[in-house]
């Protein structure tokens, strides 16, 4: 009996000693060139049960329709295979290249078991040149606007909301607390660190603001200002980000019956204008985070839905809708290897004057989700996750739909 007790004690202490991350392995370095690789294998088994979709012509639901589904897939972040190259330092400038490939593991849909496309996604291919002047980034990378909102969501490395339609990833809190900023081609300048403060400005390829966007001849501009510090045993970071883009509307369009029609507000302009902010603090294993966003002409899923997902950025009269949302989160390191966490988020959309008079289409009012999770680090590179998510959509006519989902996952990091 005594031996058994000691055994239990040793097992528990062994679990406690299972440490944290190590750096990715590095090759070379003698002549100033270095090559390293990092990545994740990310596998989640999830079960989702969704209630009936209300009838009527309404904004798309991402929760499915009166169905139950089991899937084995990647979580919010796909699996990752990344390669990093560091060049020799020249005139005080450090240059690096990162190529990040983000494969999904599931088939395109459960109806097409031989169709694996698109399971490779080159999300990152950029170089940076960093010196006393700051940093230049050129290439494809995570966009700035609401970038930190998604990066501070605990479901980034779990599943979060499990969507009904076949997608390359689960949603986390995309559309349920923040909008998906996406990875995009850009040229970005970031200032040097000024006592923990950094500011960044990027010029990116413009996206369509609505399905009636005719010209995208003005760049999309994004910015971020962030602050990070360590005060005694407390970590603190805060950020704010912004987005601006303007695009010209078409004059005519071809409708579903292939008849040419005059576009609402023909030749006018639409603007995507958004702000976002957040704060996160950690102390003795407790980590608290709150983030939010507000803007117009954005969308309900991605930061600029454009002509996708029912074109929610603008209304039937061609005017921008106002969208806003928030995410609140608490996590706690129960032991050095076990973390528990819960968060709740909403993405909301206001009715425009046109929406109030039109009965033809019912826009989404609110998408909300609550997540509870526990993660366990088996060793320095293997993690297990268990998670429960409740999600609900509410349209502007008061109709609702909800889903419950459970996810069990494992991640391997190198």
């Amino acid at each position: 009996m005594k031996k058994r007790n000691i055994g239990i004690l040793l097992v528990l202490l062994g679990l406690a000693a299972a440490g944290q991350a190590e750096a990715a392995f590095v090759v070379g370095g003698e002549n100033g060139w270095q090559f390293s690789t990092d990545g994740i294998v990310d596998v989640f088994a999830d079960y989702r049960s969704t209630s009936q979709l209300p009838t009527g012509d309404r904004f798309v639901s991402f929760l499915g329709n009166n169905d139950q589904n089991f899937g084995v897939e990647v979580g919010l972040l796909p699996s990752v295979v990344a390669f990093n190259v560091k060049a020799p330092t020249v005139n005080g400038v450090d240059s690096t290249v990162r190529i990040g490939i983000y494969p999904s593991i599931q088939n395109k849909s459960q109806d097409s078991r031989f169709d694996t496309s698109p399971n490779i996604d080159f999300r990152e291919i950029y170089y940076t040149a960093k010196g006393r002047y700051g940093e230049l980034l050129a290439g494809r990378a995570l966009n700035l606007y609401q970038g930190k909102n998604i990066l501070t969501d605990m479901t980034l490395l779990t599943a979060g909301v499990v969507p009904g339609p076949a997608t390359t990833t689960t949603l986390g809190h995309i559309g349920y607390g923040y909008l998906y900023t996406n990875f995009g081609p850009q040229i970005r300048y970031t200032t040097p660190d000024l006592n923990g403060v950094k500011a960044a400005l990027s010029v990116g390829e413009p996206y369509k603001i609505s399905s009636f966007t005719a010209k995208t001849n003005v760049p999309r501009v994004e910015t971020e200002i962030s602050y990070a510090t360590v005060l005694g045993g407390t970590t603190l970071q805060a950020w704010a980000s912004g987005l601006f883009e303007s695009a010209t509307r078409s004059t005519t369009f071809v409708d579903a019956n292939k008849v040419t029609q005059v576009t609402p507000r023909p030749g006018g302009h639409n603007t995507s204008l958004g702000g976002a902010a957040g704060v996160e603090s950690g102390f003795k294993g407790v980590d608290l985070m709150a983030s939010g966003y507000y803007g117009e002409g954005l969308g309900m899923i991605s930061a600029q839905d454009g002509d996708l997902f029912g074109s929610s950025s603008t209304d039937g009269a061609g005017e921008e809708r106002t969208q806003w949302g928030f995410l609140a989160q608490a996590t706690y390191m129960l032991t050095p290897t076990v973390k528990i966490g819960a968060n709740y988020g909403q993405s909301r959309q206001e009715k425009t004057a046109f929406d109030k008079t039109s009965a033809a289409f019912i826009p989404m009012k609110k998408q909300e989700a609550a997540v509870a999770m526990v993660t366990y680090n088996f060793n320095k590179f293997t993690q297990f996750v268990a998670e429960y998510t409740y999600a609900q959509d509410t349209w502007h006519d008061g109709a609702t739909q909800h889903s419950n989902s459970f996810a069990l996952g494992t991640l391997f990091y190198w």
Partner: protein
């Protein structure tokens, strides 16, 4: 009863999480996705150590003996935190 006490004792030991832990896998991933523009605790503390060393080097021309003592104490605290992150033995 004894068994429960042992398990409870072990649980307390496990709960003694270091104030500042080494960078986790999650933090590493977040840093990579943010093109290294992230809350990097080691980076912040290294900069602070450099800054404190620079101030201490100014010596009695810029600071009183009391102020220098405070700066030395701050440097030791910061170095200890950094050592914890980098898993080195704390400075004595």
């Amino acid at each position: 009863m004894k068994k429960i006490a042992i398990i409870a004792g072990a649980a307390v030991l496990m709960a003694a999480v270091p104030v500042i832990a080494q960078q986790t896998n999650e933090e590493k991933v977040i840093c990579e996705l943010a093109a290294k523009n992230c809350l990097n605790k080691a980076d912040i503390l290294e900069k602070r150590v450099k800054k404190l060393n620079a101030e201490i080097k100014k010596g009695s021309k810029a600071y009183s003996a009391e102020e220098l003592k405070k700066l030395d104490q701050k440097l030791k605290e910061t170095q200890d935190l950094l050592d914890k992150i980098e898993e080195k033995a704390p400075a004595k």
